[in-house]
Amino acid sequence: MKKDILYFIAQTKYNIKNAHALRSSFWVGVWSMVLNNFSFFIMWMLFMKATGPINGWSAMDVFGMLGVAMTCFGFAHGFFYGIIDLPQFVMRGTFDSVLLAPVNSFLKLSGSSFSVTAYGDLLLGGVVCIIYGIYSHFDFYAWVLFIITLILGCVLFVAIRLLCALIVFFMHDGEVVVMQVFEIFLRPGLYPGSIFPDKLKIFCMTVIPTLITSAVPIDTAKFNSIKFMLVSLSVTIVWVLITAAVFRISVRRYESGNFLR
């Protein structure tokens, strides 16, 4: 396991080095994503200005929530971009190279591809989370809860992203379906957590666990709620286990030379 992780770290390091070789292109990619993400801040700030605080959430909380969502997105796409390319690997039959490598298939797959723009998400998301914590005067306990739920959010995001990509093993031409299914997961998480009615909130924390990757870390830190953290932990464990099981089944279904179909 240690060897696999070291391999993954080395792969990521070389991916970053590689992208950074074209320095101007790298930074243009990063900053364009930062600029792109500002649009969500502007949009929801204008919304909160029109509505005023909703269910105890101010514009600053929405700001923090978007920061969390960007961090989770940036983490998954920055370090595990290979899983986004999984449908192409399977469709072209090049998944063999992942399976034949003497390292953990998931880690080998994850580091096999790279997205520069995801580092823009990660950078901006991280900065926004720190600003939010400082502005909201988090105490030590709130910081710990916030960081733990943020990490859980990142892990869950990777698991769901992979689970969506695994569709391609079960469906011919599944490539076109993967993105649509992933968007069903992603989009609700970009709405302010406070505007969700209770039932929908529970649904979006469990069945489509998008709020775990956006609003839940904010609620956890805001109300110092260990309950929210435990919910986040349980949901993440359940989804990670489901993803791991589906991953095993999917890999067994794979046949070389899919491209010939």
Binding site: S25, S32, L35, S39, M43, A50, T51, L190, I195, L200
Partner: protein
Amino acid sequence: MYKGFYFIYIIAKNSVEQKKRVIFQMANHVIFLLFSLYLYKHVYELVPGLKDKLPFANAVWSMSAYFMVFWLGVRNIERRFREDIQSGNIEMYLLRPIGYVWQKVFVVLGQGLYSFISATILSVAVSYFVVGLPEINTTFWFWILGVLIILILSQVLTCIIFVLSGLTGFWLENSEPVHFLVSKLIMIFGGAWVPVAFFPKALQLFAQFSPFGGSMAVTFTMYPNFPQQFPLLLFNILFWIIVGLLLVRFVSSRAFAKLAVNG
């Protein structure tokens, strides 16, 4: 003109084989539409004052109009340009008897046509059955005619904007940041997730009179004051179309002069 329609028809016909794609796109569309509708219903209950800015039914129709147009996929024009320029395949398209810019516009329109038609039917059905017709202070037929005119013209403007974004690829190593910027400005000022009626007055004016708001002006046709705003909207879109066409002409001639064909 006929050649153009025929081109779009052929591409659309070819895209029919991707039924699975359209089905899942539409599933995504309906889920997201119902989701937004449910959320905004809750927001309107929590903040009753929002009704004064925009009635709930109009907000729903406005957002569903945005997502309906979204599936036409006109924003993909820039990506098509970028891919051709970066791969060098642009040479291949220059040999064809239709201008390069037109080819890309027709391909994008053809590929998005089925999704757009399906999304239109679903948007209208979902919005109508859930909230009824929006409150518009005019006759039904005037409204429909106005929506159609603004829809067509605003999409012409959107095409022009994304063609211009794509043409920047001749000078930039990667035109994606331009695309990000333009598409996000359209998203904000087109009222994608948050209707423009919720914005402060100054921003509402900017949205209405900027090319970004103009390119999604179909969302403004769902507002109660549409009959009063109609001439202004129309004038604004026509103005930006003329400016845009002149710019496309100027920029594309410079861009193609810059192009080196290596064979």
